[in-house]
């Protein structure tokens, strides 16, 4: 791939659709794992809810009007997740995708700083909705490291795809780092100290979703 091709690489509608498909695949693949994590410290429905939500998103990808932007795709994901995911994850992820889509509204192609804006707005939406802070053992503990890593990657001149890769890796580490934490928000907080020693299912699903985003982006650049 030549320099012209590299310069043209932003994250467009193809990436957005690919991200959603990969997200659906990932939620289906990790359904049992997320259920198991949630059963340990929650109500055990996270994997099933996320899988159902993304399965409901898939057919709607075929109905997107011509000229749709990544923001249009993500807004559709937001409203679908809000309607179909029964647990707290529906409003939380729905708000994340909704606020994130507003941050990149109207853009046909997203560059590295757009990725940072999207992630930051998503994270802020989750924090505003769930009122959780870093260290509360929630999905925020995956989102905030992802935002920070994306920002330093973008500041260092990374491509949009590399920025997402940095975010996904940081989210994965953040999810692992929730294991020793004592939950202070959500259903797991009822368990108090007994929640320590288990990974937070919402942080883990965040890591999978951002991994799907990064994989979709690197697929685009290598094509």
């Amino acid at each position: 791939m030549g320099p012209i091709g590299a310069a043209a690489v932003g994250l467009d509608i193809t990436w957005a659709v690919d991200w959603v498909r990969r997200s659906a695949d990932s939620m289906a693949e990790h359904r049992i794992e997320l259920i198991t994590l949630d059963r340990e410290i929650g109500d055990g429905d996270h994997g099933e809810n996320m899988d159902r939500g993304f399965q409901a998103v898939l057919p709607k990808l075929d109905d997107l009007p011509a000229g749709s932007t990544p923001a249009d795709v993500l807004k559709m994901v937001a409203t679908t997740l809000i309607s179909t995911v029964g647990g707290a994850a529906g409003p939380l992820y729905g708000t994340a995708y909704l606020k994130g889509s507003v941050a990149i509204a109207g853009e046909a192609s997203i560059d590295a700083s757009g990725v940072v804006s999207f992630l930051e707005a998503s994270r802020d939406g989750i924090v505003a909705r769930g009122k959780a802070e870093s260290g509360d053992k929630t999905m925020v503990d995956a989102w905030t490291p992802a935002v920070d890593a994306a920002r330093s990657a973008a500041d260092g001149g990374a491509s949009a795809a590399a920025t997402l890769r940095a975010a996904a890796d940081a989210a994965a580490s953040g999810a692992v780092a929730t294991e020793p934490l004592v939950a202070r928000k959500g259903r797991a907080s009822y368990l108090g100290e007994r929640s320590a020693g288990h990974r937070d299912p919402g942080a883990q699903s965040t890591a999978y979703l951002l991994e799907a985003a990064a994989a979709a982006a690197s697929n685009g650049t290598s094509a």
Binding site: I82, G86, G87, A88, P91, G94, R129, G186
Partner: protein, 238 residues
């Protein structure tokens, strides 16, 4: 009063049965209030549904406003998300009450039944769980509780026999509590705080029962008098 003047209530629960049961309980005391369920997921499993909450708010809203009661944390998240998607003019008259589901729904429904405005219904719900502390918070600090010289004074009391058919249930109880709340002094009904709706209703006083309305605060004589007159009047049921 016209239906459109009353505040509507929405009960958001993870369980369809729980929402229906709470509404059954509240309707017994507030038969004319629109109380709408938003229980369970779209396909009836345990969880909360954005669609059901949105639909219930629309059905409960007759134009005066809606107070939403929720059970567990994610029910609140769903309700807040549904509020974000409402039209601005509708959202202005919808409130999510920070209250326990059962007590809050009953107290809010009774307040709505007796025609309280939006903020009054919210206050009724939010004071339902905390033993009346929210009521006390509304009282100016200098007059809250018994005054220093009042605690050693003689109790002031009136004894009344209830003549209305409902006794101190639902609407009459709400009227009594509403009137008691207009006075800064602490007044009791058979020893129970007259500003606590659920505690008053829990007395289970019926027609023919004798009630003692009392205060230990010398400044509360007119409060006792006013409450006694309301009870003696039969709450307008004659």
């Amino acid at each position: 009063m016209a239906d459109g003047d009353r505040i509507g209530i929405v009960v958001v629960s993870h369980s369809e049965k729980l929402a229906a049961g709470v509404i059954e309980l509240a309707h017994q005391m507030a038969p004319n209030v629109r109380i709408e369920p938003a229980g369970g997921t779209d396909d009836g499993r345990i969880g909360t549904s954005f669609e059901r909450v949105t639909t219930a708010i629309g059905a409960a809203d007759a134009g005066a406003g809606v107070v939403v009661l929720c059970d567990l944390g994610s029910a609140i998240l769903t309700a807040e998300t549904a509020m974000d998607f409402l039209d601005d003019d509708v959202r202005q008259r919808v409130r999510i009450a920070d209250a326990p589901l059962v007590e809050g729904t009953v107290a809010a429904s009774v307040a709505a039944e007796s025609g309280d405005p939006l903020e009054g219904v919210v206050r009724a719900a939010e004071s339902a769980g905390g033993g009346g502390t929210a009521d006390l918070a509304d009282v100016p600090a200098e007059s809250a509780g018994a005054s220093d010289d009042g605690s050693s004074g003689e109790p002031i009391s009136r004894r009344i026999t209830l003549t209305n058919s409902d006794g101190l249930h639902a609407r009459p109880a709400a009227e009594l509590v509403k009137l008691a709340s207009t006075f800064p002094q602490r007044v009791t009904v058979n020893g129970i705080d007259a500003k606590s709706l659920l505690a008053i209703m829990a007395l289970g006083l019926v027609k023919g029962d004798e009630v003692e309305i009392a205060t230990e605060d010398p400044a509360g004589a007119h409060a006792v008098e006013a409450l006694a007159e309301l009870a003696a009047s039969g709450f307008g049921e004659h």
